[in-house]
Symmetry: C2
Subunit: 230 residues, 2 copies
DNA sequence: GATATAATGTAGGCTTGCTTACATACATCG
DNA sequence: CGATGTATGTAAGCAAGCCTACATTATATC
C-alpha cells in the first residue's frame, strides 16, 4: 500500500501528467506496472521491438547508442521522475538506443496498448507526449553538436553542468554530484576515451575545480567550470 | 497560369500532401504564396521569430546553424520538393537555424495562421507533420553522430552518399552530383576545414574515386565511396 | 578473507587534421 | 575588359588527444 502511494506520488509529479484528475490517476495506476531494476540490467536494447514506455521512479538509467564502428555513446543520464522509452509508443519502430541501469531502483511500465487505452480517456495527452519528444530530440541534437567543436576539457565541463541540473546538491564548499559514473561513462558521455577522462579529471582536481569526496565528485567552483565550458 | 499549375504540381508531389483531394489543393493554393529566391539570400535566420513554413520548388537551400564559438555547421542541403521551416509551425518558438539559398529558385510560403486555418479543414495533416518532424530530427541526430567517430575521409564519403540521394544522376561513368557546393560548404557539412576538404577531394580524385567535370563532381566508383564510408 | 573482476593511474609514441600563410585561378560586375 | 572578391591549391608546423601498455587500487563474489 505504501508502495502504491509512492507510485502515485511519482506519477503526479510529472509535468506531463500534472493536469490529470484523481479518476485519471487511478486509471493510470491500473494500467501500469512496477518493477525493480538492478545495476547493469538492460531495460530495453537497440534493435529490439519493445514498445513500452517507462517512468524512472528510483535509481538512475543511462540511454546509450552503439555505433557501427563499436563506439558507445551515452545520450542521456536519466534521473528520478523521467519518462523514457516513449519514442516508440506513438509510432512503433525498432529501438535505436538502449536503456541500461546504472543505479538500483524502480521503474513504472506501461505497454503501448495500455497507453493507447489510457490515452483515449485523457484528451490532449498524446499531444503533450509529442511536445515532450520534440523537446528531448532538440536537447539531444544540441548536446551532440557541442561535442563537435569543443576540446575534451570543455566537453567535460559541459557534462558537469548538465549533470548538476539533475543530480546536483548544493553544499557549503560547492555542489555535490550525487551520481557515480565511471570514467568510461564520462568518456562515452563526451565522446572521448577513458584514459583522457582520467587525466582531465585529475587536472581539474589539481586546478581546484573539483574534488573527489568518497567516490562522488564535488564541484568546488561552478563559476570556473562554467567559464571553462564557455 | 502556367506558374500556378506548376505550383500545384509541386505540392501534389509531396508525400505529406498526397492524400489531399482537389478541393483541398485549391485551398492550399489559396492560402500559400510563391516567391523567387536568389543565391546567398537568407530565407529565415537563427534567432528570428519567423514562423512560416516553406516548400522548396526550385533551386537549392542549405540549413545552417552557427555555434557560440563561431563554427557554422550545415545540417541539411535541401532539394526540390522539400518542406522546411516547419518546426515552428506547430509550436512557435525562435528559429535555431538559418535557411540560406545556394542556388536560385522558387519557394512556396505559408504562414502559421494560414496553415492552421488550412489544417483545420484537413484532418490528420498536423499528425503527418509531426511524424515528418520526428523523422527529420532522427535523421539529423544520426548524421551528427556519424561526424563524431569518423575520419574526414569517411565523413566526406558519407556526405557524398547522402547528397547522391537528392542530387545524384546516373551516368555512363558513374553518378553526377548535380549540385555545386564550395569546399567551405563541404567543410561545414562534415565539421572540418576548407583546406582539409580541398586536400581530401584531390586525394579522392587521385585515387580515382571521383572526378571534376566542369564544376560538378562525378562519383566514379560509388562502391569504393561506400566502402570508404564503411 | 581470498580471488577475480572492474576501475583508475600514468606515460610515451604517433597520427590526424587544424592553423597559418601565401599563391593561383575563377567569377562577377561595373 | 579590367578589377575586385571569391574559390581553390599547397605546404610546413604544431597540438590535442587517441592508442598501447602496464601498474595499482577498488569492488564484488564466493
Amino acid at each position: 500500500m505504501t508502495q502504491e502511494r509512492s507510485k502515485l506520488w511519482y506519477l503526479k509529479n510529472l509535468d506531463i501528467f500534472r493536469y490529470l484528475g484523481d479518476e485519471e490517476y487511478k486509471l493510470l495506476d491500473r494500467y501500469s506496472n512496477m518493477r525493480e531494476i538492478k545495476k547493469g540490467e538492460m531495460i530495453y536494447f537497440q534493435g529490439s521491438s519493445d514498445s513500452n514506455f517507462y517512468i524512472l521512479k528510483k535509481g538512475a538509467v543511462k540511454i546509450t547508442k552503439l555505433t557501427p564502428r563499436g563506439n558507445e555513446i551515452i545520450l542521456d543520464i536519466l534521473s528520478v521522475g523521467t519518462i523514457f522509452g516513449e519514442m516508440t509508443v506513438l509510432e512503433p519502430r525498432e529501438r535505436d538506443e538502449s536503456a541500461i541501469v546504472i543505479e538500483d531502483g524502480l521503474i513504472c511500465i506501461m505497454n503501448r496498448d495500455e497507453f493507447n487505452r489510457f490515452s483515449k480517456m485523457v484528451p490532449g495527452l498524446s499531444g503533450k507526449m509529442t511536445s515532450m519528444i520534440e523537446l528531448k530530440r532538440w536537447n539531444r541534437e544540441n548536446k551532440i553538436l557541442d561535442l563537435l567543436y569543443c576540446t575534451v576539457e570543455q566537453r567535460l565541463a559541459k557534462a558537469f553542468i548538465n549533470l548538476l541540473d539533475d543530480f546536483g546538491i548544493p553544499h557549503d564548499n560547492g555542489h555535490l554530484l550525487q551520481i557515480r559514473l565511471t570514467h568510461k561513462d564520462y568518456a562515452d558521455l563526451i565522446a572521448s576515451t577513458r584514459e583522457t577522462v582520467t587525466a582531465t579529471l585529475n587536472k581539474f582536481k589539481a586546478d581546484g575545480l573539483i574534488d573527489f569526496e568518497n567516490k562522488y565528485i564535488m564541484i568546488k567552483s561552478l563559476d570556473k567550470i562554467r567559464g571553462m565550458a564557455e
